[in-house]
C-alpha cells in the first residue's frame, strides 16, 4: 500500500485568499454591469456557512462512531432529496396543468429509499466490505452521490412520463377502448420516460475520465491516494450510479403510472383531478 502523503491544509489565510476569487468574480460581474455582484457574494457566503456546518456535523458523526447517528444522517439526506424532487418540479408543473395528482412525496421517498439503499448496501457491504459496516467515512459520501444522481434521473423520468401521458392522452384512451390494460396502454410512454433518464446515465459511463477528472477521483488524488486506487474507486462509483439511477427511475415511473388510471381502467379526468366522474371502486 503506497504511503499516503499528508493533505495540505487550507488555513484561515488560505480561505481568505480563496475568497478573493469570489470577490474577483463579483468584480467581473460589476465591470460587465451584470448586476449580479450581490448574488455572487451571497452565494460565496452561503457556500462557506453551509459547508462549514456540514463539516462540523461530519466531524461529530465521524468521532461518535454510532451506527444510528450515521443512519440518521443518511435519512436526512434522503428526505432532503425526496423533498427536492417532489416539491419544486412537481407542484409547479402540476399547477400549470391544473391536475391534482396524488402527492409525489411518498412515491419519490420510497423509490429513493429502495433504489439508493440497496445500492449503498451492495457497494459498502459486498464490494468494499467496509468495517464497521456503518463507517461514516464511506457511507456518507457514497450515499450523497448515489442519492443525488438517483434523484436527478428519477425526476427526469417522472417529468417525461407526465408530459407524454398529457400529450398522448388520446392514444392511451384508444388502447383502453380496445380492451388494453392500463399497463399495455401506457407501455410505449413508460419506455420513453425510462429512456429519458437512462440516456444521460449511460452517457455518464461513456465519457467518465475523458472530459475531466471526476470530483471524487480528484479528491482522493489530492489526499494522496495512488491514482490506481482512485481510478478503481471511480469505476465503482460510475457503475453504482448507473444502477441506482436505473432502479430508482423504474420504481418511480411504474408507481407513478398507476396514478393516471382509475380502478375501472379509465384515464383519470384531468379537469376534475383524481377519480373524476366516479367513486373509486
Amino acid at each position: 500500500m503506497p504511503a499516503e502523503t499528508q493533505l495540505l491544509d487550507v488555513g484561515w489565510s488560505g480561505l481568505a485568499l480563496a475568497a478573493g476569487l469570489v470577490l474577483a468574480a463579483a468584480g467581473i460581474a460589476r465591470w460587465q454591469e451584470l448586476g449580479l455582484e450581490g448574488r455572487y457574494l451571497l452565494g460565496g457566503l452561503r457556500a462557506f456557512v453551509q459547508l462549514s456546518l456540514v463539516g462540523y456535523a461530519l466531524v461529530y458523526v465521524f468521532h461518535a462512531e454510532r451506527w444510528w447517528l450515521v443512519l440518521l444522517v443518511l435519512g436526512v439526506m434522503l428526505a432532503a432529496a425526496a423533498r427536492a424532487a417532489s416539491g419544486g418540479r412537481g407542484s409547479s408543473a402540476e399547477r400549470a396543468r391544473g391536475v391534482r395528482m396524488k402527492r409525489l412525496w411518498p412515491v419519490n421517498a420510497s423509490a429513493l429509499t429502495i433504489g439508493s439503499g440497496f445500492t449503498l448496501f451492495y457497494v459498502t457491504q459486498v464490494v468494499l466490505r467496509v468495517s464497521p459496516w456503518y463507517e461514516p467515512r464511506y457511507l456518507i459520501p457514497l450515499f450523497g452521490m448515489i442519492v443525488g444522481n438517483a434523484m436527478n434521473g428519477a425526476a427526469l423520468a417522472a417529468e417525461r412520463l407526465d408530459a407524454e401521458m398529457q400529450r398522448e392522452r388520446r392514444t392511451v384512451e384508444a388502447y383502453l377502448a380496445l380492451g388494453a390494460t392500463p399497463a399495455r396502454a401506457s407501455a410505449e410512454l413508460v419506455r420513453r420516460a425510462l429512456t429519458a433518464s437512462a440516456i444521460p446515465s449511460i452517457n455518464g459511463l461513456m465519457v467518465v475520465g475523458l472530459v475531466q477528472l471526476p470530483g471524487m477521483m480528484t479528491g482522493q488524488i489530492l489526499a494522496g491516494a495512488s491514482p490506481t486506487i482512485a481510478v478503481r474507486y471511480q469505476v465503482v462509483v460510475a457503475f453504482m450510479l448507473a444502477f441506482a439511477t436505473a432502479l430508482t427511475s423504474v420504481i418511480v415511473v411504474l408507481w407513478r403510472r398507476r396514478a393516471f388510471f382509475t380502478a375501472a381502467q379509465q384515464l383519470v379526468d384531468e379537469t376534475s383531478g383524481a377519480g373524476a366522474s366516479a367513486p373509486r371502486r
Partner: protein, 254 residues
C-alpha cells in the same frame, strides 16, 4: 307521455330486451353537470343516433356505454346486467368505441389492425385483416401504407376497422363524419350501414348532422344541455316530436 316512457315503450313494443338501459344517470365534470338525470333505453337497432346541439352531452353519454367514464349518479345496464358487473376489458371488446379523431397507432394500416386483434386476444390472419379492410371500404392492397399519411376519411375507416378486430356486438361512433365533406360522409355512413348489416352489429352514433340521423338511423335520442329531450323511432320523432324544444331543433335540420 314523457320522453323516457316513449323510449322504453319503443323497446317493449319490439319485444326485445334493451341493449342499454340508463336510469337517473348523471355525469359531472369540473363542477358542471354534463349529463343530468338521464333515463332511457337503447334498443338493439341496426343504427341509433344521438343528436343535439353542441355541449348537449352526446359524447359524454356515448363514453359511458364503454365505461371510458363512469356516471356519478344512476345506473346503466348492458344486455340485462349492470354495466359494472361486466369485466371492463371484456366489455370493451364487446362494445367497441371509435373516437372522433381516430388516434391511430404508429405504423401501417395493417399494424393498427394487428394490435387491435392482439388486444382482443384473437389471431390476425391475413384473411381476417383483408375481410375487415374490405368491410370498411379500404383496398387490402393499401394495408401496408403508413396510417399517418391517410386522408381523414380513410383514417376514420381504419379506426372503425380497428374496432371491428375484436369482433364486437356494439359499435359506438363519436361524430364519425364531423371532419368529412358531405360526399365522404355519405360514403362512410353507407359503409357503416352495410357492415352493420353484414356483421349483425348494433351501431350507436353521435352526430350533429340531423340529416344523417334522419337518413340512416332507425332509433334516435335527442339531448340538450345534458338532459334527455326526446327518444324513439327516428321516423316518428322527425314526423311529430312531442316537445316544443325537440320540434324547434328538428326543424333546424339541414
Amino acid at each position: 307521455m314523457t320522453a323516457a316512457e316513449r323510449s322504453s315503450r319503443g323497446s317493449e313494443v319490439s319485444g326485445e330486451p334493451a341493449l342499454f338501459a340508463l336510469r337517473g344517470v348523471g355525469v359531472e365534470r369540473g363542477g358542471r353537470a354534463v349529463l343530468h338525470d338521464v333515463t332511457l333505453e337503447l334498443p338493439r337497432a341496426r343504427l341509433t343516433s344521438i343528436v343535439g346541439p353542441s355541449g348537449a352531452g352526446k359524447t359524454s353519454l356515448l363514453r359511458l356505454l364503454d365505461r371510458l367514464d363512469d356516471p356519478c349518479t344512476g345506473t346503466i345496464d348492458f344486455a340485462g346486467q349492470p354495466l359494472v358487473a361486466h369485466a371492463v376489458r371484456a366489455l370493451r371488446r364487446r362494445v367497441a368505441f371509435v373516437f372522433q379523431t381516430p388516434a391511430l397507432f404508429a405504423g401501417s394500416v395493417a399494424d393498427n389492425l394487428r394490435v387491435a386483434a392482439e388486444l382482443g386476444g384473437l389471431g390476425a390472419e391475413v384473411a381476417e385483416l383483408e375481410s375487415v379492410l374490405r368491410a370498411v371500404g379500404i383496398d387490402p392492397g393499401d394495408a401496408e401504407r403508413d396510417a399517418a399519411q391517410l386522408s381523414g376519411g380513410e383514417q376514420q375507416r381504419v379506426g372503425i376497422g380497428r374496432a371491428l378486430m375484436t369482433r364486437p356486438e356494439v359499435l359506438l361512433l363519436d361524430e364519425p363524419t364531423s371532419a368529412l365533406d358531405p360526399e365522404a360522409a355519405q360514403r362512410l355512413l353507407g359503409t357503416v350501414q352495410r357492415l352493420a348489416a353484414q356483421r349483425g352489429l348494433s351501431v350507436i352514433m353521435v352526430t350533429h348532422r340531423l340529416s344523417e340521423a334522419r337518413q340512416y338511423s332507425e332509433h334516435c335520442v335527442m339531448l340538450e344541455a345534458g338532459r334527455l329531450v326526446e327518444a324513439g323511432s327516428t321516423a316518428a320523432m322527425f314526423a311529430s316530436a312531442t316537445t316544443a324544444r325537440a320540434r324547434a331543433y328538428l326543424a333546424s335540420s339541414e
